[in-house]
C-alpha cells in the first residue's frame, strides 16, 4: 500500500524554482533517503511533506488522504530536526508530552505513550532533565522520542545526525535502523551523507537542482547510476571519469588518445551507436593492479604519483593518458611513488555516459 505519494510537486520562492514537478511514491514501511548536495531541495521537499511550507503546485497524499492543505499536526507525521529543536525550558518529559497535551489526550494515555517511547529509546533516567543537561546523542534521542509518542505512520528526519561527531553518528545510525525494523513505519530521511544513505535506505532518491535524478535501491544507484551527476555524487572516493569517443558498431570500444577500452562486456541500455564525445566512469575500488590486472579485459601500465593511506586501505593516484586515475589497494601492499604497475578493470563494472547530456548509455 502506498504510504506517501507526491504528485507533480512544485515550489517557487518568487522566481526561483526550488522544486520542479517532483513525483515520489513511497510504500508502507519503506525507508526512503533523500540524498543530494546542499541546496538541491531535499530539505524543502521534506518540509513540504510535513506541511511546514505551502506548495506552489501539485499534491501530497499520506495514507491515501490528500493532505496538501492540511496543517502539519493533522498529517499523521512525526519529524526530527537537525538541531534537535528541543524546547529548552521544558524537561525531557515535557518535550515528549507537549504535542500530546496540545492534542488534548487523556493524562494516562500521555503517560503511557511517554513511558513507551522512553523505554524504546532508553531515555527513562533522563525524563526529568532539561535539554541543556543532555549530551548531543541524548538530545537527538529525545527528538526522535518526540516523533515516536505521536504514534504516527510516517517519520520525517531532517539531517538528524549531522550535528553529532563521527562516532556517535555511526552509533545512532545503527539505532535508527533498529528502530525502523522494530516499528516498521514509513520513514523519509534527508541527508547529505552518502554512508547514511547507503546503509539505511531501502531506496534512495538522489536530488539535484530541485529534481530527482534517480530513485532506486542503493545497489542500483551505486552500480548503475543513470547519469554523470549521480555517478560522481555517490561513492567515496569518487568515480574516475575518462573522456573519449565511442567507436565501432559491431564490437564497440572506448578510445581516448592511445587508450582503447573494449566494451564487448558492457551492458548498453539501448545499443551502441558510435559517438564523438562520451565519458567512461570507473570506481576506484573496481580497478585491479599487479598480477590481477592482466586477466582483466583492459589493462595498462601506469606510474604512481601520489599515495594516500587511509587506514583500512590506500588510495593511489596516477595518470591514465591525460586523465587522473585513482584506485584502491590493500594497505599492506607496498606501493611507492614512482613505481610502475599494471592496472586493469572489467568494463562490465564501468559506466558509460553521453558526453553532452550526461545520461547513461
Amino acid at each position: 500500500m502506498t504510504s506517501v505519494l507526491v504528485r507533480d510537486l512544485s515550489l517557487n520562492f518568487g522566481l526561483i524554482e526550488v522544486l520542479k514537478k517532483l513525483n515520489i511514491e513511497v510504500a508502507e514501511g519503506e525507508f526512503i533517503v533523500l540524498l543530494g548536495p546542499s541546496g538541491c531541495g531535499k530539505s524543502t521537499l521534506l518540509n513540504c511533506i510535513a506541511g511546514l511550507l505551502d506548495v506552489s503546485a501539485g499534491q501530497i497524499f499520506i495514507n491515501g488522504k490528500n493532505v496538501t492543505w492540511e496543517e502539519p499536526k493533522d498529517r499523521g507525521i512525526g519529524m526530527v530536526f537537525q538541531s534537535y529543536a528541543l524546547y529548552p525550558q521544558m524537561t525531557v518529559e515535557g518535550n515528549l508530552s507537549f504535542g500530546l497535551k496540545n492534542a488534548r489526550l487523556p493524562r494516562d494515555e500521555i503517560a503511557k505513550r511517554v513511558a513507551r517511547a522512553a523505554e524504546i529509546l532508553q531515555i527513562e533516567p533522563l525524563l526529568q532533565r532539561k535539554p541543556a543537561a543532555l549530551s548531543g546523542g541524548q538530545r537527538q534521542r529525545v527528538a526522535i522520542g518526540r516523533a515516536l509518542v505521536r504514534d504516527v505512520d510516517v517519520f520525517l528526519f531532517d539531517e538528524p545526525l549531522s550535528n553529532l561527531d563521527a562516532k556517535l553518528r555511526s552509533e545512532l545510525r545503527v539505532e535508527i535502523k533498529r528502530l525502523h525494523q522494530r516499528l516498521a513505519n514509513t520513514m523519509i530521511y534527508v541527508t547529505h551523507d552518502q554512508i547514511e544513505a547507503m546503509t539505511l535506505a531501502d531506496r534512495i532518491a538522489i536530488m539535484s537542482g530541485g529534481e530527482i535524478q534517480q530513485f532506486d535501491s542503493p545497489q542500483a544507484i551505486y552500480n548503475r547510476p543513470v547519469n554523470r551527476f549521480v555517478a560522481g555524487f555517490v561513492g567515496s572516493p569518487g568515480m574516475n571519469f575518462l573522456e573519449g569517443a565511442l567507436e565501432g558498431a559491431g564490437t564497440p570500444s572506448f578510445r581516448a588518445g592511445d587508450i582503447v577500452v573494449p566494451l564487448a562486456r558492457y551492458g548498453f541500455d539501448n545499443g551502441a551507436a558510435p559517438k564523438d564525445r562520451v565519458v567512461l566512469g570507473i570506481r576506484p575500488e573496481h580497478i585491479f593492479h599487479g598480477a590481477a590486472a592482466s586477466s582483466q579485459p583492459f589493462s595498462k601500465e601506469i606510474e604512481i604519483e601520489i599515495v594516500e593511506p587511509m587506514g583500512s586501505d590506500t588510495l593511489v593516484w596516477s595518470k591514465l593518458g591525460s586523465h587522473n586515475l585513482s584506485f584502491r589497494v590493500d594497505s599492506e601492499k607496498p606501493l611507492k611513488v614512482g613505481d610502475r604497475v599494471p592496472v586493469g578493470f572489467d568494463p562490465a563494472r564501468a559506466s558509460l555516459f553521453d558526453g553532452s547530456s550526461g545520461n547513461r548509455l
Binding site: 511546514l52 502539519p72 499536526k73 530536526f81 537537525q82 529543536a85 528541543l86 507537549f98 492534542a103 518526540r146
Partner: protein
Amino acid sequence: MSNPGTLAITIAGADAIADRLEGPHGPKPRIAFSRRNIFIYGVLGVAALYYLLPLYVMIVTSLKGMPEIRLGNVFAPPLEITFEPWVKAWATACTGLNCDGLSRGFWNSVRITVPSVIVSIAIASVNGYALANWRFKGANIFFTILIVGAFIPYQVMIYPIVIVLRNIGLYGTLYGLIIVHSIFGMPILTLLFRNYFTSLPEELFKAARVDGAGFWGIYFKIMMPMSLPIFVVAMILQVTGIWNDFLFGIVYTKPDTYPMTVQLNNIVNSVQGVKEYNVNMAATLLTGLVPLIVYFVSGKLFVRGIAAGAVKG
C-alpha cells in the same frame, strides 16, 4: 640528542627544566607602571571623575542647609548633614498651586509608566513574533511602515494627537498619555522583538507546529519562556523612556495629572522667593532614582539581552 652536553642536562633531572630553557620562557612579565597602563588608567580615571563630579555636587548640596550653601563652597562636604531638603522636595515643595511636593507627580508617573510599559510590550512582542515567524502577506510592507514610523520626529505629531485625544475625550487624562506612550513605543519595540525572535532557531517553531501548537500556543509556551532577556531589555527601555519623558507629559496632561518630570521642572524653575538649591538637588535625585534602580537591578540581564539581540546564535 647526540650532543653530550644536552644529554647531561636531560639526565640531571626534570626539576632543572627551567634552567635548561634559555631566553624568554613561561608567562610574559607585565610591568605595572608601563607608559601604556598609566595612560589608559589615567584617561579612565579622568573620564570617571568628569562624570561623577556633578553627581557628587548634587548629593552633597542636597544634604546641606541653606546657610551652608550660601558660603559658596560647592565641593565641600556638608558640615552638618540634614535630610530636610529631601523631605521638603518629596512632601511640601510648591509647584504652581499645589504644595504637596513631588509625591503627587511620583504617583502620577507610576500610574502612567506601569500600564504603558505593560501594554506596549504586550502588543509589540506579539507584533514582533508575528513578523518573525508567521510570514503573512504584506508583512514586509507592514514592517517598513513601522520602521519609517520610528524615524518621524515626535514634534510633528504633537498637535494632531492633541486633536484626536480631544475628540475622543481623553485629552488631559492619564489614559490619553498612556495611549500615546504605548503607540510611540511600538516601532522600536517591535523591531527589537522581531530581531530577537528571528534569531531563535526556526526549527523550534517548526517542531512546535508539528506538535500541534497554534499561534498563541507557540507564543506563550515556546517563544515567551525563551525570551526573558529581551523582555527585560524592552522593559528597561520603556520604563526609563516613559519615566524620563517630559514633552508628552507636559502636552497631554493637566497640572493635577503632571508626571514627576514636569513637576520637577516646576519646582526648579519656580521664580518667586529664594532659590533653594538643596531642595532642587534632592528633587532631581528623587526623580532620577527609579531609572537608576531599574538599571542596577536588571543590569546583567540587560547586557545579556542586548548581546542576544545583536549576535545571531
